[in-house]
């Protein structure tokens, strides 16, 4: 048991995508075809400690499910919506007496970021079978995507599937626990911060890539400026401004390099 705990504590978030393909010291490229099984295991091992950090959030969602007017339908959303923030937002709007349409719009706005994740990972899945893409899509959410983005391109698909598989099994388990005994978590304010810390910690190593760093800074400022706006539209604006800033920075970098070369 202690061996597994030690392994979980030792897991570090992978470095940014630009440098992750190379050895940090020598700059050498890694083996082109890593073993699939080892990448699956590495992804699962990277996700496992995050599951612990996600536990309070999962319990909170479970508590919201238990308090819903229709707990069975709300519990079904653990798999259909498969995203804590959208799940909570949808149940919150319903709990305030708004109709299903208003709740659906809010939930969809919170989850629209998933299309950005899916678009970003599309190059890795070109040429693979439809079945594999379906599996990858069904388990797509913040943490596995961000973890895989920081992984070297070789073996990234298997790494993603390992991380996504652990969360796909672990998340419903946490929500189920929350349904049964999640009320006490609401009394711990620090619990609300843990998932944010986890997501932030996944992003930090990727800041070594300049366009990503600029995108994150712009998005953070945008998030402060739009703090009073509902989560869905605010996240869309942050994503748009951050994405544009990243693209402009990358273009400026290319122009600088080509100018220096000529």
């Amino acid at each position: 048991m202690s061996r597994y705990v030690a392994a979980a504590l030792a897991v570090r978030v992978p470095a940014g995508s630009s440098s992750a393909g190379r050895h940090p010291g020598t700059g050498a490229l890694p083996d082109p075809v890593p073993a699939r099984g080892s990448e699956l295991r590495a992804g699962a091992a990277a996700m496992a400690p995050m599951l612990i950090a996600y536990a309070p959030f999962g319990l909170l969602v479970g508590a919201a499910v238990a308090a819903s007017a229709n707990p069975v339908a709300a519990y079904l959303a653990t798999w259909t919506i498969y995203g804590g923030a959208a799940h909570l937002a949808t149940l919150d709007v319903l709990g305030h007496g708004s109709g299903w349409a208003a709740a659906a719009v809010v939930g969809l706005l919170v989850n629209v970021r998933l299309s950005a994740y899916a678009t970003a990972m599309a190059p890795d899945w070109r040429g693979t079978s439809v079945a594999r893409r379906l599996v990858a899509g069904v388990m797509l959410t913040d943490a596995p995507w961000a973890l895989a983005r920081g992984h070297a391109p070789a073996g990234r698909r298997e790494y993603y599937l390992g991380a996504g598989g652990v969360l796909f099994v672990g998340w419903p388990a946490l929500v189920t626990l929350g349904v049964l005994a999640g009320q006490w978590v609401s009394a711990l304010p620090v619990a609300g911060l843990l998932s944010a810390m986890t997501l932030g910690a996944i992003v930090v190593p990727q800041l070594r890539e300049r366009p990503t760093a600029v995108a994150v800074c712009v998005a953070a400022v945008t998030a402060v400026l739009t703090a009073g706006v509902a989560a869905g539209p605010a996240l869309l604006v942050a994503g748009a401004t951050g994405g544009a800033a990243g693209a402009l920075t990358a273009r400026a970098g290319r122009a600088r390099r080509s100018g220096g070369a000529s």
């Binding site: 504590l9 007017a69 992003v203 990727q206 998030a223």
Partner: protein, 104 residues
């Protein structure tokens, strides 16, 4: 019925968000996927910032400030190469220590 309808609509839409780009992966330009990557990371950062700004704790004044300090410690530890679980534990411990020290 209202809850079930909302859950099914959000679920169907979320599945479309997830699967649409992946099933059409062969037709997506590389430039679009790169911008989507920056947009995705930006939204993760925005989620973190919004969580801190909206943090509520009736037991302390200026809860968002304490939340920001705790998240900052966590991110700093991650940047220093500390494992994720320990970094999150460090951030959480910072928050708990600060709430114990700050007079109400």
């Amino acid at each position: 019925m209202t809850v079930l309808l909302a859950v099914l609509v959000v679920g169907a839409g979320s599945l479309a968000f997830r699967l649409g780009p992946l099933l059409g992966a062969d037709r997506l330009p590389v430039a679009v996927t790169r911008v989507a990557g920056w947009a995705g990371v930006s939204m993760l950062a925005a989620v973190t910032v919004r969580t801190v700004l909206h943090h509520q704790d009736p037991s302390v004044p200026a809860a968002p400030l304490l939340g920001a300090a705790a998240v900052a410690v966590c991110l700093l530890l991650t940047a220093r190469g500390v494992s994720l679980l320990l970094a999150v534990a460090g951030g959480g411990a910072t928050y708990l220590a600060a709430t114990a020290l700050v007079p109400f």
